[in-house]
């Protein structure tokens, strides 16, 4: 009888421990929002509402506006997404349907997982070494100042880095399309392209889109590789090769220079905005994937 009591107590303790660990998840998230929010809004009277509307980031004259970085972030993100979409779709279809379960599909998946494992700082370094000289040549040939770095270079490297996330999820959902649907279409005399176009893609649409959402949120948060490649200037890009800054890269760059409290708060505010953006992204992704399952 006593051992029974002990076991019940141990069980309760165990369940409590699990709950405590799980509770850490919202607690940490809330802690992040609060600690960054407090520092940000502490100096908000100094920073002012122009923070969200101005493109003028000039710490020397105490003027803080993050529009340049927001634009830079979304520009690199959408460009990187654009570069990676054809490849991601092709790989998802190839490994999830055309060659599903074969050796070559496994090989491609494994290559992708190696890409996803490459540290971002190594990506950035290779980008600097390989991509920048090529870009410089192109810029010289086209008559632009040959910086080599810029949002185009950053987007290209970013495209490689975010590719595995959407490709993996795409492969998963495409391989989950019910066999009878596909076979019904084949039975009607459809070619494989038609089955993919009219049966598989409509069925797997939401899963594929949420794969791209994951890629996008990775692209927004990517810091080190982008910082190395984007050129770090606090202006809108002047042309297609132009240098600019993203929200994450400006934090990495200017954090150590933040002498005054206001400057520091302005940088923390960028981090605060990034949390909000990631929350919005994962909320949207959740809405989309809910339709799928």
């Amino acid at each position: 009888m006593k051992s029974m009591m002990n076991r019940k107590r141990a069980d309760r303790l165990f369940r409590g421990g699990l709950f405590g660990a799980a509770f850490l998840i919202p607690a940490v998230l809330l802690g992040m929002l609060l600690s960054l929010g407090i520092i940000f809004f502490d100096e908000f009277s100094e920073i002012g509402f122009q923070y969200f509307f101005s493109s003028d980031w000039d710490p020397v004259n105490e003027r803080y506006g993050i529009i340049v970085f927001v634009v830079g972030t979304f520009l690199t993100m959408f460009l990187a997404l654009g570069f990676s979409i054809p490849f991601s779709l092709a790989i998802s279809i190839f490994t999830g349907e055309i060659m599903y379960g074969t050796k070559i599909a496994t090989l491609i998946s494994q290559l992708l997982s190696i890409i996803s494992a490459i540290p971002s700082v190594v990506m950035g370094l290779c980008g600097l070494f390989v991509l920048t000289p090529i870009m410089q040549d192109i810029q010289l040939a086209l008559g632009y100042p040959p910086y080599g770095t810029g949002f185009l270079s950053a987007s290209m490297v970013l495209a490689i880095m975010i590719l595995p996330f959407s490709a993996f999820l795409g492969r998963e959902v495409i391989s989950l399309v019910p066999k009878d649907l596909k076979e019904a279409a084949y039975g009607l005399g459809a070619t494989r392209l038609e089955v993919i176009r009219y049966v598989i893609l409509p069925y797997a649409k939401s899963g594929i889109i949420s794969g791209f959402m994951i890629s996008m949120s990775r692209a927004i948060g990517e810091t080190i590789a982008v910082t190395m490649l984007i050129g770090n200037s606090n202006y809108f890009p002047q042309n297609i090769f132009g240098t600019t800054n993203t929200m994450a890269s400006v934090m990495a760059n200017e954090f150590s220079e933040a002498g005054s409290d206001v400057y520091f708060s302005a940088i923390v505010g960028i981090g605060f905005s990034l949390i909000i953006i990631s929350a919005l992204f994962s909320l949207t992704a959740r809405k989309i994937i809910k339709n799928f399952y």
Partner: protein, 297 residues
């Protein structure tokens, strides 16, 4: 008749064999070829990166003392100095970060998978996904504001916390996913034998899902160890080997970042060598996880 489900009527007609069959088959072959071509193209960036890192970094590693000496001063002679301080820092971070994140992550994952409060668990999933997609640099700033600033110094301790925070949601999600695959039959069999919830988890569920959990842990470890963003605000870097929990420390991604963007050529050489080492470590860990996973499933 109202059309059901997929596509518009035009689509259905084309499925039913209308149109030029030769053209449709040609389009199909073209599409298959395009998919194959685009998929194969992935090899190019990967091969480029591997070749460049091995070519630029592989030689440095061979130099005497690369693993035993600390990072050199700027403009020192080529081949002098090494990455011992960063290597020690990264190892310490991996150990401390894992010690914190693994038990907590597995426990949180178990709760998400087994709790009966479905609504609450649903929002836990959402929070976990959000936490996972919070950029590492923001995690770094968060740890800076709550641990570095109050304590007055960058430290290995704060870096380990940030390291664990990056790993935690990844492990939790991986555990939750993998534990759900455990067949209900063996869980119920365990209950039927009179085992408690605790015993069932420890003796039945965890052994069953061990390979998957280890795989999730290794993915998280590789992600966290390769990430340099949060180290800027927590570890800060240290030119000497430091084992102290309360001193700033160096780490591989941090050294690579700082040395690669420096104007000193000997530092850039060190950055390539360190890239080689970091990449080799991360790939090794990944391959090991694949082997473990394959053995089980």
């Amino acid at each position: 008749m109202k059309e059901q489900g997929l596509g518009r009527p035009r689509d259905i007609r084309s499925l039913a064999g209308y149109g030029n069959i030769a053209r449709r088959q040609f389009k199909n072959r073209l599409f298959t070829g395009l998919c194959l071509f685009l998929s194969i193209l992935v090899v190019i960036p990967l091969a480029t990166i591997l070749v460049v890192v091995i070519k630029k970094g592989g030689l440095n590693v061979l130099s005497a003392g690369f693993f035993t000496e600390i990072t050199p001063v700027p403009n020192a002679a080529f081949g002098t100095g090494g990455i011992a301080n960063s290597l020690v820092g990264t190892m310490l971070l991996c150990v401390l970060g894992s010690l914190l994140a693994v038990p907590l992550g597995i426990a949180a994952g178990l709760y998400m998978a087994f709790s009966k409060r479905k609504k609450f668990c649903d929002s836990l999933y959402f929070f976990c996904n959000t936490l996972q997609s919070v950029p590492a640099i923001v995690t770094g700033i968060f740890v800076y504001t709550v641990l570095v600033k109050p304590f007055g110094s960058f430290s290995l301790f704060s870096a380990a916390i940030a390291f664990a925070l990056v790993m935690f949601p990844i492990i939790a999600l991986a555990t939750a996913e993998i534990v759900k695959l455990c067949p209900l039959a063996i869980i119920e069999a365990s209950y039927a034998l009179g085992a408690s919830f605790y015993k069932t988890i420890v003796k039945v569920v965890l052994p069953y899902s061990a390979a998957g959990i280890v795989n999730g842990f290794i993915v998280a470890l590789a992600r966290s160890a390769g990430e340099g963003a949060f180290l800027l605000f927590t570890a800060f870097g240290n030119p000497f080997i430091s084992y102290s929990l309360w001193q700033p420390t160096s780490a591989l991604p941090l050294t690579i970042f700082q040395f690669a963007i420096s104007p000193y050529e000997n530092w850039q050489e060190i950055a390539w060598g360190a890239s080689f080492v970091l990449m080799a470590l991360v790939l090794l860990v990944n391959i090991v996880s694949k082997l473990i996973y394959r053995k089980k499933f």
